[in-house]
């Protein structure tokens, strides 16, 4: 660790990992409710469990991004973070908000209250006071990192990262605008939900990935930056108007079907470019970095994001297809692999890379870490497949043959059982990862044998 203030990242990552555990456990519970629908139906209804699952996902990913920014900006800008105190204050606000959210959701406090009650719009259900807290925390964060970058060296990586983070914060402001017209409500709602994950988050992803490639492969900065710019251009070009693929059936004019179909199809390109980028850098690079786990997560990130976000997204993005598949388990399959591949793997990659650095030691628990990658990944890929099958059957029975929703649900139960099984594997993998990161062994580092054995 070169800069003292990079330490801030450690706390962010720790809180993120705690929420990660809660998120996957919530997912497991939701998966169980799918196969045994009466579980906790009074105490903790499914909609609340799902809300906790998705909200904690978003919050821990954001904390991971913040941590990553605090970790890599000092190194890139070659100076300490502007204010450590502000960084901890920001975290405290976010944690308070998160606790407030959990308590409000679980006990359904202040129902209908304009300031304290749950707002009820999917993913942005947070009570207004929490939303305000998020904005304050984001302002503190942006002030802090922007001041650091402005006073230090500016690199393509920090520029793109800041662009992404600023965009993220500004787009969140749409969560305060809640028009009475439902079509308009949904239209602005996607400014956050879509333009985050298929817009500005991609910039954050590309810049963190570029940083990791720079460190892990030792390829020239110039080459990395060229890739970074191309990826970012492709992401914004396709992603912004790609929002149209959410405007097919919400009451917006019909031309959105074509705008959405054409532009969102192109969203495959930046994800393909990120995958190609990661692999080409590794082939070109001459550095044999000891942190193999971080490299595995980085390559896994590129690959799984391409399949989860790119291929599985394209699968149902054309409006002619989406007319049938909209809101079926196909969507769930895509959502799971896309978030896992693009943003979970990315965070776990930077955490795998950063933690040994932050603790001033060599990469530790590499084998456990890599085992956790394969467990989580195989579990998640299996889950994606079974949900895709479930969604295909569901689409045919429900949308083509016109059978009743609940009858169809009964006939795809076998897939839900398999999904629960794969969920167990993912949770075990996640716990293994957290353990591998949190508990370094007091290992004895053996020197490699001096002479190469004869071959």
């Amino acid at each position: 660790m070169k800069y003292q203030s990079q330490k801030i990242a450690l706390v962010y990552f720790a809180v993120a990992m705690g929420l990660f555990a809660i998120q996957v456990l919530g997912g497991l519970l939701a998966g169980w409710i799918y196969v045994s629908p009466n579980t906790l139906s009074e105490l903790l209804p499914f909609n609340i469990v799902r809300m906790l699952h998705t909200n904690s996902l978003i919050v821990w990913l954001l904390l991971g991004f913040f941590g990553a920014a605090y970790f890599l900006i000092p190194e890139e800008s070659e100076r300490e973070i502007y204010s450590e105190k502000l960084a901890y204050l920001q975290l405290a606000i976010l944690v308070l908000g998160t606790l407030g959210v959990v308590v409000t959701y679980v006990f359904n406090l202040f129902e209908g209250h304009w300031l304290l009650g749950k707002e009820g719009r999917e993913f942005i259900e947070q009570p207004k006071w929490v939303k305000a807290g998020i904005v304050v925390a984001a302002l503190i964060f942006l002030y802090n990192v922007t001041m650091t970058v402005l006073q230090g060296k500016k690199t393509a990586i920090t520029n793109i990262l800041l662009l992404g983070l600023w965009g993220l914060a500004l787009l969140f402001l749409f969560s305060f605008y809640n028009p009475h017209n439902l079509a308009l409500d949904k239209m602005y709602w996607w400014y956050i939900v879509h333009l985050w994950v298929e817009g500005v988050w991609e910039l954050i992803m590309a810049s963190i990935l570029a940083y990791l490639m720079l460190k892990l492969t030792g390829v020239d900065r110039e080459v990395v930056e060229k890739w970074l710019y191309v990826i970012v251009a492709a992401a914004l070009f396709s992603g912004i108007l790609g929002t149209g693929h959410h405007y097919y059936w919400i009451g917006t004019p019909g031309y959105w079907q074509w705008i959405g179909s054409v532009f969102s199809s192109l969203e495959v390109i930046p994800f393909f470019a990120m995958m190609a980028f990661a692999f080409v850098m590794v082939w070109k690079g001459r550095r044999d970095h000891p942190n193999k786990a971080a490299l595995l997560w980085s390559l896994g990130c590129g690959t799984l994001a391409f399949f989860g976000a790119g291929v599985w997204g394209f699968l149902h993005t054309l409006h002619g297809v989406n007319y049938y598949t909209h809101g079926t388990q196909i969507t769930a399959a895509h959502g799971h692999l896309a978030f896992y591949g693009a943003y979970v793997c990315l965070n776990l990659a930077i955490i795998s890379y950063a933690l040994p650095v932050l603790r001033n030691r060599d990469p530790y628990n590499q084998v456990l870490n890599m085992a956790s990658f394969w467990m989580m990944t195989s579990g998640m890929v299996f889950m994606t497949f079974v949900l895709t099958f479930a969604g295909t059957v569901q689409t045919h029975m429900q949308r083509v043959l016109g059978e009743y929703f609940m009858d169809v649900q009964d006939s795809v139960a076998i897939f839900y059982w398999m999904r629960f099984g794969s969920g167990v594997v993912v949770v075990l993998g996640a716990i293994l990862f957290i353990y591998a990161m949190a508990v370094p062994r007091k290992e004895i580092i053996e020197a490699g044998s001096a002479e190469t054995p004869a071959e």
């Binding site: 251009a233 019909g254 074509w258």
Partner: protein, 183 residues
Amino acid sequence: MNSEPSLLDEVPGELMMWVLIISELLVFGAGLAVFLSIRLTDPVLFAESQDHLHRTGAALNTIVLVTSGFLAARALGWRRAAERTKARLALIGAATLGVVFLIIKGFEYADKADLGIGPETNVFFTFYYLLTGFHAAHVVAGVLILLLVAWKDDARNIETGAQFWHMVDLVWVILFPVVYLLG
């Protein structure tokens, strides 16, 4: 690390502009491909709707735009020969012709509106407005870019601006026959 020179380094003009151009061509290409596919399913509607379009105005616009492209291309040559004033005038001329294109286009749209035709009239006009509307938006951007590079008249800048402008030209030259003429 001393990497071998990449093929990309030999590409003339700005790499990022090429990325944009390829993306644009993919979008317009996809739009035209879908347009032609739907045309197969309803040739009568497409033929009838096409008769409402101003073929002469569009042909005139083609001449306007190609001339403008010629001026932009000449501007780069002049700038490289250190004839700055000439280059600047050519760029301003190119931008002016871009505005002429937009005015003619504006008359065309106004005429459609008078006939009560809009993007929701039928699928032909949905595509007519999407394709020509997107293109016109690029003409607006192109005019601004041409003026920008006339002001900051580095040869490299002019080349990048001309690159964009030729893409706008190219798209129109394909749009015009496919949307207006194809019988």
